[in-house]
């Protein structure tokens, strides 16, 4: 969302990463989301009637507050762009995106394929550890493999044998 923005030359300090002007964009997104939710709350309220003790009041109050606070945040962000809080040193969006893709794949594989918990988890551990690591593969591959096997098997056995929580066994003869 923010990576598309050009860096602001005036505040391009080393600790305030390339896209320090993202806060107003975040404010606009918040405001739009709040407005959409408020719209839904109000139309529901009109359809069903709004009473003090009824179920339609709280959604209107909460989303109304959302819009008001988002507006306040947006104004603050625009007025003092440099001051608006932003965690320093955000370096890349690539790793978190890939990690998210890996997570989604992991969940889908668990649910919709017969691979089973142990294999899916072992593969996920290898992939995620690789994404999060800054060292070359050959230095850490043995360690990562050992962790992948131990973690996936360990969790599977503890949960299915000791705690009685069902996990998909899959293709492995467990």
């Amino acid at each position: 969302m923010t990576s598309a923005l050009p860096p602001d030359p005036e505040q391009a300090t080393p600790e305030a990463a390339p896209s320090a002007s993202g806060a107003p964009v975040a404010g606009v997104v918040l405001l739009l989301a709040g407005a959409a939710l408020l719209w839904q709350a109000v139309t529901t309220g009109i359809d069903n009637g709004v009473t003090l003790g009824g179920p339609t009041l709280a959604p209107i109050v909460v989303t109304g507050l959302w819009v008001a606070v988002a507006l306040g945040y947006l104004l603050e962000a625009v007025r003092k762009r440099a001051v608006a809080g932003e965690a320093a040193g955000l370096t890349t969006w690539r790793t978190p995106l890939l990690l998210l893709v890996a997570l989604v794949c992991y969940a889908v594989v668990l649910k919709y394929t017969v691979l089973g918990y142990v294999l899916a988890t072992a593969v996920f551990v290898l992939v995620a550890a690789r994404l999060l690591s800054t060292r070359p593969v050959r230095e850490v591959i043995v360690r990562d493999l050992a962790t992948a096997v131990a973690l996936s098997l360990g969790i599977y056995l503890v949960f299915t044998r000791l705690l009685g929580i069902v996990l998909p066994a899959g293709v492995l003869p467990l």
Binding site: Q40, W66, E86, L100
Partner: protein, 514 residues
């Protein structure tokens, strides 16, 4: 005297092999997650909730959860001292002087004053808790629906105003939490709200899903975006020196007053809805700095700067239990999860709990004394084990967190929709971290929002839709006025923002230097 008898009965509950085992497991896990960066007590308790339900032992489970909370407070200090990366927000103040001590070869001294201070504070504040609990519960019996509504408002407003550097951002987080709490069927009329046609949303979004998303997924994805700035260097422990428990005579004499002052600050701040341990630790840090006879040492490893905040953060934990047990009002994220845990067991904290299940309440309180002793043993002689834990490679640690997070949501609900909701909340949490929106108000909004709405509607029902009920009852009015006053309490957050600014500036300087 009555409280004393109750407490003795509580010890009777705790001192059984099974419950001692729960306490031991709790404090060990708590220390572990306190030591490990990226995983805190709220997430741990949320992940353990489904497992705990299987065990079907509310007393044991709650003893374990209290142990996790207390253990995380101890463990957090180890990370801040040896790594200069606070394990959780309550340890930020400790890291300022603690890391300086470690760099100058006084790591053991810092760890010892933190652990013994935590023990002293934990014990004193638990005694206070034991004696305050019964009168508070008696007082709470007189609370009506309108009072509970006002109390929930007060708790939300103060936590929001006090956590984080900006009121607007805190309010935004709170509003997001309130919105998440609205999703699902209305509990009184069964009308669907914000379900967007997704049947899985009818039951609402489970607190476990929300916490896993906010903490586990959000934290890991955020870390992934800035992998290269992670400090990975653990300061080595120096060989054990002379003196009792690694503290020289001078260290003892400089530590005990900050311990007591820290306790005196931590307990009331924990009991007030101020967001747990963050405020008292910083207040204690500032107080000790101002009173210090060795101003030249500050910034170079002053022992008082570790002793005070560490005592304050452990004392605040007992303080947090006062409103949680007597009123059912959580004042920190972890307390909110513990409240959810009570709910899972169909227990409602509050005055009734003291009457109906005294063995749970007093067993829990007594377990804190036992847990404190265990924690002292875990954290002093066994410190080398925790130093080893600190050396777990970060990629594997965060991968493990993701695996357990997915397991916690998926294996239990079996619903992939819940997993995707957790991922979505995680992505939102990354942006929240990016733009420095505090996380704790979200969780309090989720827990307190529905409570607030129900009490509001109940109060109106009892008064025939007469809104003046909220201003006619003096107690309600006072609580609501306090909430308004809390909004205009900018001094503490400013103070903290200033301290934080200084501290982060210092940290930046180090990363350049190291």
């Amino acid at each position: 005297m009555n409280s004393f008898m109750d407490l003795m009965a509580g010890f009777g509950t705790v001192l059984t092999p099974v419950n001692l085992l729960y306490a031991a497991i709790g404090v060990t896990i708590g220390t572990l997650v306190g030591v490990l960066p990226g995983i805190g007590p709220a997430l741990t308790i949320a992940l353990l909730l489904p497992v705990a339900l299987r065990l079907d032992d509310p007393t044991g489970t709650l003893i374990m959860f209290a142990g996790i909370y207390a253990g995380a407070m101890y463990g957090g200090s180890t990370t801040s001292i040896l790594l200069n990366t606070p394990g959780e927000s309550a340890s930020v103040a400790t890291s300022i002087e603690g890391y300086q001590m470690a760099r100058r070869g006084r790591a053991r001294t810092a760890l010892a004053t933190a652990a013994i201070g935590s023990f002293v504070a934990g014990t004193i504040s638990t005694i206070l808790l034991a004696f305050v609990a019964t009168p508070m519960a008696k007082l709470a019996v007189t609370f009506r629906a309108s009072d509970y509504f006002a109390l929930a408002v007060l708790a939300m407003v103060t936590v929001t105003a006090m956590v984080g550097a900006s009121l607007v951002r805190g309010l935004m987080s709170l509003t997001f939490g309130l919105f998440l709490g609205l999703i699902g069927l209305d509990s009184l009329t069964g009308q669907a709200r914000f379900t967007f046609g997704v049947p899985e949303l009818l039951d609402g979004v489970d607190i476990v899903t929300i916490i896993v998303g906010l903490f586990a997924i959000g934290e890991t994805l955020f870390i992934a975006s800035r992998l290269r700035d992670l400090p990975a260097h653990v300061t080595p422990l120096e060989p054990a020196g002379k003196g009792f428990a690694w503290l020289s005579r001078a260290d003892w004499s400089r530590s005990w007053r900050p311990w007591l002052r820290g306790t005196a600050l931590g307990f009331p701040f924990g009991a007030l809805p101020s967001g747990g341990a963050e405020i008292p630790t910083f207040v204690s840090y500032t107080l000790e700095k101002r009173r210090s006879k060795h101003p030249e040492e500050w910034g170079n490893g002053a022992i008082e700067g570790v002793a005070g905040p560490e005592a304050a953060n452990n004392a605040s934990f007992s303080g947090v239990l006062v409103p949680l047990l007597t009123l059912g009002i959580p004042t920190s994220a972890t307390a909110a999860v513990m409240l959810a845990a009570f709910g899972y067991f169909d227990l409602a904290p509050g005055p009734q709990l003291f009457e109906k299940s005294p063995e749970i309440v007093w067993g829990l309180i007594a377990s804190l004394f036992v847990g404190n002793v265990m924690l002292l043993a875990l954290n002093l002689p066994m410190i080398r084990v925790w130093v080893k834990v600190l050396q777990i490679p970060r990629p594997l640690l965060y991968t493990g967190i993701l695996v357990f997070a997915t397991l916690g949501v998926y294996a239990v609900s079996g619903s992939i929709v819940d997993v995707f909701i957790a991922f979505t909340i995680g992505v939102i949490a990354v942006f929240m971290r990016r733009y420095e929106f505090p996380i704790a108000p979200v969780i309090l909004g989720v827990i307190l929002g529905p409570m607030m709405e129900i009490q509001f509607r109940r109060a109106l029902l009892l008064s025939d839709n007469d809104l003046t009920i909220f201003v006619r009852r003096p107690l309600t009015l006072i609580l609501l006025l306090l909430a308004v006053a809390a909004l205009g309490l900018p001094h503490l957050p400013k103070l903290i923002a200033r301290l934080r600014g200084r501290e982060s500036a210092k940290r930046l300087a180090f990363s350049d230097e190291d």
